[in-house]
Symmetry: C2
Subunit: 114 residues, 2 copies
């Protein structure tokens, strides 16, 4: 069963584009300094990228399983302890590769736009 006034491409598509670079952006975010989940969401939001918890946690787990990042618990002054994420060596290497992938992709799009 589908809604009759189904959403047209543009809205949906914008979300689709965001998906593709999400993992990349999260690695970018952490690369500057270690952060915890809510912190990451905040940073991405400041860059106009909307992400929610339900998306982020599974993604962080996946990145940890592939050993791109590690986490350490730290006490908070107000509330429960926080899980700070940080890039591993492999994580930094992968990020470098992804930066190239991104610029390569941007180049392709430019090429098609002309």
């Amino acid at each position: 069963m589908k809604e009759p006034g189904k959403e047209i491409g543009s809205e949906n598509q914008k979300a689709q584009m965001r998906k593709g670079v999400l993992e990349f952006c999260i690695l970018l975010t952490i690369s500057k300094e270690k952060k915890y989940a809510s912190n990451i969401i905040q940073t991405l939001k400041e860059a106009d990228l909307i992400v929610v918890e339900g998306t982020l946690y599974p993604l962080l787990s996946r990145l940890r399983q592939t050993e791109l990042l590690t986490h350490t618990w730290e006490e908070s002054q107000s509330g429960p302890p926080r899980k700070y994420y940080e890039l591993t060596k492999k994580g930094r290497e992968t990020l470098a590769t992804l930066k190239q992938s991104w610029s390569s992709l941007a180049k392709s799009v430019d090429h098609l736009t002309e």
Copy 2:
């Protein structure tokens, strides 16, 4: 059951990025002149974007259902007739929106990279 030496993010991720902009790129491709499927794949390949038939056909159907493009049959001089795709008015409008989405996304990534 997973392969033990499972593929690490970078390869997989690059594909993921491509996915996000695929629909956008296809609309871009057609926007210049009407094309048929193999033709589109060829054009994308020249821009370093790999797409296969099994991906393209369902995508074109989807775009037709949402009325972003139409098709017309034309005879070929060598082989079966070809289905040429072309943007509709709504398609051109959507494409304009997507161009903005793309540049907005690129901006966000740049913002995070700095």
